[in-house]
């Protein structure tokens, strides 16, 4: 696969397939992710979303922000949606009833619809090897229903169902390593990305579409409402997640892990790795951790981040 080369100006000319007029909150990280991923489309494409923020904001009847064919059915089955579309395209082509050489199928799911309720369908679709790209836009909680905790919510975070109370200070469980789980499914391509490293995200989305078989792209997409920060800081916070190694960027082609440039430079020069506090202090959902009685949680978070970082470095062949 030749790498797609483009200048920022070229990129700016690509038409928006996720158009303006959608009702996402001001400063919405997932909306940026949607726009960028869809700009990476290389030809005819059909998309599908699980129930969630991006589905709701883009299709408040009778308005639609989608300039490509799109379907939404339910919450837990976007991967099955994609499986049905992909299968239909394959068989219609085989029977000579499809006018396209190839149509890319993209499934968009939030963390709720992917880590938790949607996992079964995702795992099944991955096992069956359907040719589609699954994009997880991870805002780390069930945001559309009002900031409830999901399997993707990080350790210590406040959510409405893991509130920072007197007895229990936020979420006590760790974030499920969803991308690693998808690597364990032995699918051809898995990658993590975020909106601040836009070129990395776009290239990975393109790669995910090009790969034959299931591809999984985990995109960290900050949410000003749920993470409690000023709307202008969305991209900045995504960048900090990478710089603190809370959300390292990597890809795994056929199970071979490789660090992406933004994380690779930190691996090679560990002074660049910022302490987790730099990230945590920017968001209101972690504010309670800065009370003296909760400081140990910050330490625990740092330890977890370091542990996963070391594990990742080993997988990437960097001692």
């Amino acid at each position: 696969m030749a790498e797609w080369k483009f200048t920022a100006k070229d990129f700016a000319q690509i038409p928006e397939r996720f158009a303006s007029g959608h009702r996402a909150c001001a400063g919405c990280g997932p909306a940026i992710a949607m726009r960028l991923v869809l700009k990476a489309a290389r030809g005819p494409v059909i998309a599908t979303n699980s129930t969630g923020c991006m589905e709701v904001v883009s299709t408040i009847y009778p308005y639609t922000a989608w300039r490509i064919p799109w379907i939404h059915t339910a919450f837990e089955n976007v991967a099955a949606n994609a499986a049905g579309i992909e299968t239909a395209l394959k068989i219609l082509k085989k029977k000579g009833r499809l006018k396209y050489e190839h149509v890319d199928v993209i499934a968009f799911g939030g963390d709720g619809g992917t880590y938790d309720i949607g996992f079964q369908a995702l795992s099944g679709a991955a096992e069956r090897g359907h040719d589609f790209l699954y994009v997880l836009y991870d805002n780390e909680a069930y945001m559309n229903t009002g900031i409830q905790r999901s399997g993707g919510t990080p350790l210590g975070a406040w959510t409405t169902t893991s509130p920072a109370g007197r007895v229990i200070p936020g979420k006590t469980e760790r974030k499920k390593p969803i991308a690693d789980i998808m690597v364990a499914h032995e699918i051809p391509y898995v990658a993590t990305a975020t909106i601040s490293e836009w070129r990395d995200l776009v290239l990975k989305a393109r790669k995910g579409m090009e790969v034959e078989g299931p591809a999984f792209l985990h995109v960290l997409a900050p949410c000003p409402r749920g993470w409690r920060y000023d709307t202008s800081k969305t991209v900045e916070i995504a960048r900090l997640a990478v710089e603190t190694c809370i959300f390292p960027l990597w890809e795994a082609e056929n199970g071979e892990y490789k660090l992406s440039p933004a994380s690779k430079k930190i691996a090679l020069k560990s002074e660049l790795k910022k302490p987790v506090e730099e990230y945590l202090k920017t968001q209101g959902r972690f504010r309670h951790l800065f009370k003296p009685e909760n400081k140990h949680i910050i330490e625990r978070i740092q330890k977890e981040v370091d542990r996963r970082w070391q594990k990742l470095l080993k997988l990437c062949g960097i001692a």
Binding site: P62, W70, A80, I91, Q120
Partner: protein, 409 residues
């Protein structure tokens, strides 16, 4: 008089369904196994593995995904089929509503089986009765022959541009699904000619263009939006309109098929049996109708004016046919193979009573809940029903509105 020559093959109900699907040029079959539907998907996967069909077969990881895959495949332009029963149908309940709301013409065979708990693998109608209100067309077969015929008709009905509603064909678990019957099958090209190719009605998209109703990059459209309280009601009214139109489409498709195959089931909606001059009538769905017909014949032999109204299509409810055949009866007994707990009777009973309610002289209608969880329903039991109906006809008095028959007290 059959128009076309047919072969006779010994097939169980499940095998007959698989055979029909094979002939209908189905593009996508999604399958998850559940007793007693397993033979449908097993037989079909053999056809696929042997290259006898040009169909993509997806072994999904749950029934919920089975129907989802069929729904989105249909939305993409493919003809899609799946089959399930009992708990599997219950699991995909949510998606039934979505499929109907998205107007995807999926056909699904339901091998009627009891719902849990306790878990039971045998026949009753509780599984599909629980899906009454989901906007699907319900067709119930009395025997494997009818299951075969109904699957073929179902594609035509579901895909009709005036209808565009998903359709289920119910066949009794084990009683029909697993027992061999001589089934007359049409030649392959006759079936293919009958079902034809999918046609796509035009809809207005967000570009203001009238485009074919399917997911196609050349003509993008958005299916499955968020409706607020300003439009949801109108969308539901559209589904109701489709149900209204379905009545006539079902009748016509049945008629056309009857000319082709030589087989008819009443007018396609209901099948009356010795009902014209009957005084007492039983109403039921499914294979038990076969047993009732035997009992009717026995009673007629003794001079009792007994008859049967078999409900073939439950949704849309054929109200006018129910009125036409039952209004002048002296007593009507509705046999329900499902119980609506706390509802003072079973679902079919409720609906038959409702259909007859506005008549100036409506007949007494009583309910006999039977056969739950595969409880055997012998002619002896049905004789008891007719005896009760006779008593009611003679005395004009109903002793017990709702009874459970064949139950050990």
């Amino acid at each position: 008089m059959a128009k076309i020559a047919q072969k006779v093959i010994a097939l169980s109900g499940d095998e007959a369904v698989a055979y029909a699907v094979k002939q209908c040029d189905v593009d996508v079959v999604a399958a998850y196994p559940i007793t007693p539907q397993t033979i449908i998907v097993e037989r079909f996967s053999e056809y696929v593995a042997n290259g006898e069909v040009d169909t993509a077969f997806i072994c999904v990881e749950s029934e919920h995904s089975a129907l989802t895959c069929c729904l989105t495949a249909a939305a993409t332009g493919a003809r899609a089929f799946t089959a399930t029963a009992s708990a599997g149908l219950a699991l995909m309940h949510e998606v039934l509503g979505v499929t109907s709301g998205c107007r995807a013409p999926v056909v699904m065979a339901i091998v009627n089986r009891a719902l849990s708990a306790p878990i039971n693998i045998h026949c009753d109608h509780s599984d599909s009765m629980a899906e009454r209100d989901m906007g699907w067309i319900h067709i119930y077969a009395e025997n494997s022959q009818e299951a075969y015929d109904s699957i073929i008709q179902a594609f035509r009905i579901a895909e009709h541009p005036d209808v565009l509603l998903p359709t289920l064909v119910g066949l009794d678990g084990f009683v029909l699904s697993h027992t061999l019957e001589n089934v007359n099958v049409l030649p392959d090209d006759a079936v293919k000619g009958f079902v034809g190719e999918r046609k796509f009605p035009l809809v207005r998209n967000h570009e203001g263009k009238m485009i074919p109703f399917k997911l196609d990059p050349e003509n993008p459209l958005t299916i499955g939006p968020l409706d607020l309280y300003d439009y949801y009601f109108e969308h539901k009214r559209q589904q109701e309109e489709a149900m209204k139109k379905a009545y006539e489409v079902i009748r016509q498709v049945h008629e056309e098929y009857a000319e082709l195959s030589g087989r008819r089931y009443g007018n396609g909606l209901v099948e009356p049996y010795r009902l014209e001059d009957a005084e007492i009538a039983v109403v039921c769905i499914g294979s038990t109708a076969g047993t009732v017909k035997t009992v009717v014949d026995e009673l007629r032999g003794k001079g009792v004016k007994a008859g049967l109204l078999r409900i073939r299509v439950f949704r849309p409810l054929p109200v006018q046919d129910i009125i036409q055949w039952l209004s002048d009866k002296k007593a009507v007994g509705v046999m329900d193979r499902a119980c609506s707990f706390g509802g003072n009777g079973g679902p079919l009973f409720h609906e038959i009573r409702h259909a007859l309610y506005d008549l100036p002289n409506r007949p007494p209608v009583t309910n006999y809940i039977y056969g739950l969880g595969g409880r055997d329903t012998s002619p002896h039991l049905i004789h008891k029903v007719y005896q009760d109906l006779q008593r009611i006809a003679e005395t004009g008095r109903v002793e017990q509105l709702v009874s459970f028959i064949g139950l050990r007290e």
